[in-house]
Amino acid sequence: MKLTLKIWRQNGANDKGHFKSYDVVANEEMSFLEMLDVLNEELINRKEEPVVFDHDCREGICGACSMVINGKPHGPLRKTTTCQLHMRHFKDGDTIHVEPYRAKAFPVIKDLMVDRTAFDRVIQTGGYISVNTGGAQDANNIPIAQSIAEKSMDAAACIGCGACVAACPNGAAMLFVSAKLNHLNLLPQGEVEKLERTHKMIDRMEKEGFGACSNIGACEVECPKDIQLINIARMNRWYFSSAFAGDQ
């Protein structure tokens, strides 16, 4: 299949950036990234600069791949990362726009690669359970209802790719932050620091320049791991508790 790619080329955060057009011959069994590999190999053979993009595991779990394909983070297929998107979902002759995530908190480093360390900094403020190695009691001492463990797991499935932020017209990171809060706050082990964790992470999220949620829901739709808006609702409740609790 023959495709026309319009790829965003930008040399560093201060460059203005522009779309450049490339023709590439792909095959239906290829993944989207393998198609870009083919393009890059051609560019290298022509001694042109290859297109830069983040990628690693190519199994949809590391969260490294991050581009926006035809206006959608990770492309048209739901619950799918770019690396798991295969070319059989495109047609011969298609023109495909490929561009980086666009959000204030995710500055472009080069071409399709953005800086997502803001996520790490949010986690650093409280996205953990404060226990040191070695002091844990037996793992079966605290039973956890299966439904609670499952809800926690639903949220914990987040791969930190940032598609939620990219999809959000407000550049908000509420889905990401709420996923981590739900993962930890729902578990009895994480309950201890629940309100403090909620408060600190949300505070940091705002300082990083992420926007406010207006319940548009594009994040939920574009999330490759199907993280649900219900996590944001629960986060809000915890945030209200942390703001209004009298004895903190």
């Binding site: 290298i44 949809g60 359970i129």
Partner: protein, 674 residues
């Protein structure tokens, strides 16, 4: 071509004395400690942020050391531990099915085909129990039963249920818990994190590891970092084969730089080929995707008996379901009745290769077999219908009930399979084929997980220590966490206790100057070649040599051919590679070139090791050494040792250092899964 090597001094594993099950506790009783006020002056460098590296950095930070942690990723959360699907073993015996620490130890030794050090493996089994407690405390949402207690499943090569799991994303959940603990230390300031920094050389001062040269990948700048000890947790070298289940950026360069500074590489020929991966679909293929071993709990592996059925399936005139039962060969069940589809990975991989070599592979390339869930779907469906009190349910009701159960167990794996292949595995059996997955070999370490270079430690997949010649499923996560959280915090302290008076490393020392200079020259050389071949294409060539000549089954002839071809390719690489861009910028091609150049040396060492080991054991199968039934034949009299290789200089003969394996508790026997 003749492959030559020299024999060097014998190695000692520094295993503490005493009965096996008391060694580790005795070690901890007697080891040297560093007081809290001194820890604040001692620096440690950790390379890598997977389960081992991230765990070590977090645990050492908790202890109060000054930790500098490096990853080439944009975030520590991306390390490839994240991709492990199936689970983590631990001798908790929550299922009351007879599991003990000894049994986990024994299974691991046996699974490793009696090629690992007993003391290390026993310590691993002991730590497994603490790991689960620790993980639950740090918020890993493991699967639970209705009573809220932890659930287990079984895995290949064992007869108890001891595998803890979080859906098909166990590695992800364990890595995230580790990453979170690491972030807690970063926030506290005990760990300084360097993202997008790749280690490009090791710095030794007076024979001890005292620092690293690191390339800031964004700016291309070479930076120097000093410490009292360096911990490598940089994973395995599976990408040597180009196609593997490893992540695209997984590489062996950090470990190989250590080898070039004098560290020994142990048992590089022990490569695990995982039986259940999605088959290759074309030349452009960039990596292979694993389908978790847990699928073999319920999936049945088969190929048709008859040539005409094979042809019909290949040309799609017949669907797999059109082949009647009596014309299917469930070959794992036939060959290994006791363990059936759940035989260890090496055994399953060889069996699959065997039936495909017989011309019974079921896809166009002839390199695929079926993994069929029809029986499991119907079995679960019947049981579910019974539980729901349905009388005489029809077949489609049973099937849809069964599909739901299978979906609950393996839903995400089935989804992944469908995304990649476009085929729905609920109705058409999966096609699978073996692929390189894990490397048991790695840097030689003693009981302290210290390499032969004082102050240089290696943990996780990066070392060779715990899995012998073959790793059991769900044991990689166990080893990574054990080494990182529960072993190195003790053993490195024992080493550092003697270093509290040593001043911080001076990064202006001539050793740093020399290391930075030689690294710069190497990069400049790579950039100056300006040849005609892309790095990717050269890497692909190397992968083909390795897979064809040093893959699932090996012969002395093929291995010597491999060495010859690798040497030729190495020459070709250094004369004709094209690396675009410059050194002082973000240049992923240059990173790749550096890594492939290292693979081109490590590949030769792997083939040499495989050539020298005149026996078949675990992941290393030599066709010359097999029983009459075609099962691998171990040569315990000659090869019950660890082969640790010194690589003095490329184009010089490597030097073999042997460490004898002494089995005090387990008696090596023929590994049988029949």
């Amino acid at each position: 071509m003749e492959i030559k090597w020299k024999i060097g001094d014998e190695l000692k594993g520094n295993v503490p004395p005493g009965p096996l099950d008391q060694k580790w506790n005795k070690y901890k009783d007697k080891q040297k400690l560093v007081a809290p006020n001194n820890k604040r002056n001692v620096e440690i460098i950790v390379i890598g942020t997977g389960l081992a590296g991230g765990g070590a950095a977090a645990a050492l930070g908790e202890l109060g050391y000054i930790v500098k942690c490096f990853t080439f990723h944009d975030s520590p959360r991306r390390a490839h531990s994240i991709a492990a699907q199936g689970g983590i073993n631990a001798a908790k015996n929550y299922q009351n099915d007879g599991d003990t620490i000894y049994r986990l130890f024994y299974d691991t030794i046996k699974g490793g085909d009696y090629r690992s050090r007993e003391s290390n493996v026993h310590r691993l089994a002991e730590a497994s129990v603490d790991i689960i407690d620790h993980c639950v405390a740090t918020g890993v949402p493991f699967a639970r039963d209705y009573g809220g207690l932890l659930e287990n499943r079984s895995f290949g090569g064992v007869q108890v249920k001891r595998t803890f799991y979080a859906r098909g994303q166990t590695g992800q959940q364990l890595l995230l818990a580790t990453y979170q603990s690491l972030n807690r230390q970063i926030a506290k300031g005990t760990v300084t994190m360097y993202n997008r920094h790749e280690m490009v050389d090791l710095v030794k001062i007076d024979g001890e590891a005292r620092g690293v040269i690191v390339r800031n990948l964004l700016t291309g700048k070479l930076e120097r970092y000093g410490a009292h000890a360096v911990v490598l947790a940089t994973g395995g070298y599976g990408n040597l084969y180009y196609l593997s289940t490893n992540a695209m950026n997984s590489n062996a360069s950090a470990a190989w730089k250590a080898v070039k500074r004098g560290a020994y590489m142990a048992n590089p020929c022990y490569v695990q080929i995982h039986p259940t991966c999605i088959p290759e679909s074309g030349e452009y293929q960039s990596k292979l995707t694993l389908m978790s071993e847990s699928l073999r709990n319920d999936g049945r592996v088969w190929v048709p008996w008859k040539e005409d059925d094979v042809q019909a399936i290949r040309n799609k005139s017949k669907q797999p379901k059109d082949i009647p039962e009596d014309r299917r060969d469930y070959f794992l069940e036939r060959m290994y009745p006791a363990f059936g589809n759940l035989v260890p990975r090496d055994v399953a991989a060889r069996a699959i290769k065997k039936v495909c070599d017989e011309g019974r592979g079921v896809n166009a390339t002839g390199r695929a077999v079926f993994l069929d869930f029809e029986d499991a779907i119907m079995r679960y469906g019947k049981s579910e219908a019974h539980q729901q009190g349905l009388s005489n349910p029809d077949k489609s009701t049973i099937r849809s009930l069964g599909e739901k159960i299978v979906e609950a167990k393996y839903g995400n794996l089935f989804e992944m399979y469908e995304k990649i292949t476009g085929v729905d595995p609920y109705h058409t059996p999966m096609m699978i084929y073996p692929a390189v997955h894990y490397t048991m070999g790695g840097l030689w370490v003693d009981y302290n997980v210290q390499t032969n270079i004082p102050g240089l430690f290696a943990i996780g997949e990066c070392n060779f220590s715990d899995h012998g010649a073959n790793r059991l499923g769900a044991s990689a996560l166990m080893q990574g966490l054990a080494d990182g959280f529960f072993v190195i915090p003790y053993t490195i302290t024992n080493y550092l206790a003697d270093k509290i008076k040593v001043p911080k490393a001076d990064i202006n020392h001539p050793a740093f100057e020399e290391a930075e200079k030689s690294t710069r020259e190497r990069f400049e050389k790579l950039l100056s070649i300006q040849g005609n071949q892309s790095i990717e294409s050269l890497h692909r060539k190397l992968g083909k040599i390795m897979w064809n000549l040093a893959g699932i089954s090996r012969t002395a002839e093929n291995l010597s051919k491999a060495v010859e071809e690798i040497r030729a390719l190495r020459k070709e690489f250094w004369e004709d590679v094209y690396v675009p861009g410059s050194m002082d910028e973000y240049n992923p091609e240059l990173e790749k070139a550096n890594r492939v150049a290292d693979f081109l040396e490590l590949g030769e060492l792997l083939a040499t090791d495989a050539f020298h080991r005149n026996e078949s054991c675990g992941g290393h199968y030599r066709e010359e050494f097999k029983t009459e039934e075609g099962e691998p034949l171990r040569m315990d009299d000659e090869f019950a040792y660890i082969a640790a290789w010194e690589w003095p200089n490329t184009n010089e003969e490597p030097i073999l250092h042997k460490e004898d394996l002494n089995f005090e508790v387990v008696k090596p026997t023929t590994r049988s899964y029949k």
